[in-house]
Symmetry: C2
Subunit: 326 residues, 2 copies
């Protein structure tokens, strides 16, 4: 395996790109990719690590999930701004021993995600390493002025989340503890292995100017909510009774899980966390194209992040989500 | 060290960005960066690995060189298209033990490169790893239609290179064999540790429509020239007598080096390799703002890559540059 052959393999499996310059995108094969942004649009730029042992286990995670997730995670950041993905760059380093079947399956999952998320492979870099190292850069676009930042939340705004929180964490338990291909139909396992960025919801909230602030939940509510609040110089109170909880499967491995703890601290959900001014709350449906949306609390003036159990006392929410340095 | 503190440190040292949206760039602190492309311009997208043990040695390369080079290498791809850098995303993974002084010096070199190359830090991702892992994504821009691709070379075009080839490889010998901070004033060591992307030359060639094809020399002439030729479906003949050779220093470590071999196969020069139609050759000066430019051969119809010594026989050029999989 030589580097040029590896690049050819990646390029082939990624499908042929349309003719430049008509398509607006010139991809693999040059020093860099070229892209013609749409007039009146802003570009969204984001990148994400996906590293063996830190973010996935080679013995436990199917290669096609590694491919899918390495793109979906980064695209989720585009969803969180309210944008639409355009293309991505793949930085891939791997051992020579994985350049056969493992790489084929990885590229298959990546290709499926690229088609599903309408995000074209535009370039990247490859090299050799002892472990699988992936860094994915995604470029998206959004009509000028529509992007929803983390910093727009105001005291009195209501706090919403999409989906059910903690399901990916519950799925991870199955992936960790069961043999590689068992429980393959389990929806929680699927949620962990093949997350779906909430692109349509993010786009709708941005287009309708409904969300005052937004981010995606990648590290868990108790770690991510403080980031949104810090960016907006506000605090928040969460009503734990309103949290949309994971629907655990019948698997005995799930018997010991606490769905409230999963919802507060579980990572990898890639759901959207967003705030809505009180006067617009009526416009938020309880589900959007089948995806549940829950009002889980509100934004406050002080910097504290509190949880309240129904009408009980408020207490500070400990930051116990994912932190690679913890 | 928590991830949020690490991000704050990186953001602080990168300098404050100007107010969005006036500056056209919203950087660190959100799910993604936002950028307003200039009307009538195309975006250039490129990324580059820079990995401990593969691309640099922690015991031998000063951290500020690692910072400088991780950006300069990727910016060189923008120069090779004829573009101007705009901003970059930094994916950085490192051991906790390096998050103090090593990281400070790394960021110092990165910051110097960002200012020098006018390329603003716009975002990125951080995590923990056992070795230092860096992937840098650079976004550039170029007036629509001006980008110079690898695929435009035609039989009869003349082949040019900037600078003197093999100097970075000669510098690497010093870095490898001498203690970390010795020979610090040596220009070849400097060329290896702090390469200067040829942005002004690339821009000028693109703007004046002088180059029919262009790429940067990162892996060595004997590895990179076949790539340009393959993209253009042509071959090339190099006149070895015309190669601009490294000026070796008095250092005894350099006594055994063969400057011709260095010029043909040495990597990391980040000089520009470009082709010029015969009718425009007169417009190419022998130096551009002090940077030597040499005509080293010409593009041919067959796919062979040949070298010729003055009027001697032609022989095939073996591909002996850098390949991480070799």
């Amino acid at each position: 395996m030589r580097e040029d052959k590896l690049i050819a393999k990646i390029g082939r499996l990624a499908g042929k790109s349309q003719a430049w310059p008509r398509s607006g995108l010139l991809g693999i094969g040059d020093d860099a990719a070229l892209w013609r942004p749409r007039p009146g649009y802003e570009a969204i730029l984001t990148c994400d690590w996906f590293l063996e042992d830190t973010h996935f286990l080679r013995q436990k995670h199917p290669p096609d999930s590694v491919g899918w997730k390495s793109l979906a995670r980064a695209v989720s950041d585009v969803a969180a701004m309210g944008g639409v993905p355009v293309c991505f760059l793949l930085s891939l380093a791997l051992p020579v021993s994985l350049s056969g079947r493992w790489l084929d399956e990885f590229l298959c999952g990546l290709h499926r995600a690229a088609r599903r998320l309408r995000c074209a492979l535009a370039g990247g870099d490859t090299t050799r390493s002892e472990q699988v190292l992936i860094s994915t850069t995604v470029v998206g676009q959004i009509p000028r002025g529509e992007a929803v930042l983390r910093s727009g939340a105001q005291p009195g705004d209501r706090l919403f989340v999409s989906g059910r929180l903690g399901e990916a964490e519950a799925g991870l338990q199955l992936v960790r503890k069961l043999p590689k291909d068992s429980a393959s139909g389990d929806p929680l396992r699927k949620k962990h292995l093949y997350p779906e960025p909430r692109l349509k919801l993010g786009r709708w909230l941005a287009e309708k100017h409904l969300a005052s602030a937004m981010m995606d939940l990648s590290d868990g509510l108790s770690t991510d909510l403080p980031r949104l609040c810090a960016a907006s110089s506000v605090g928040a109170t969460i009503n734990t009774a309103a949290l949309p909880l994971a629907r655990l499967s019948a698997n005995p491995l799930h018997k010991k899980l606490d769905t409230h703890q999963l919802a507060l601290h579980g990572g990898d959900d890639y759901e959207l966390l967003f705030t809505v001014p009180a006067r617009k709350v009526r416009q938020i449906p309880s589900s959007f194209r089948g995806l549940p949306i829950a009002a889980i609390g509100e934004i406050t003036k002080t910097s504290a992040i509190l949880v309240r159990k129904d009408r009980g006392r408020q207490r500070p929410l400990p930051n116990k989500g994912w932190d690679p340095f913890r």
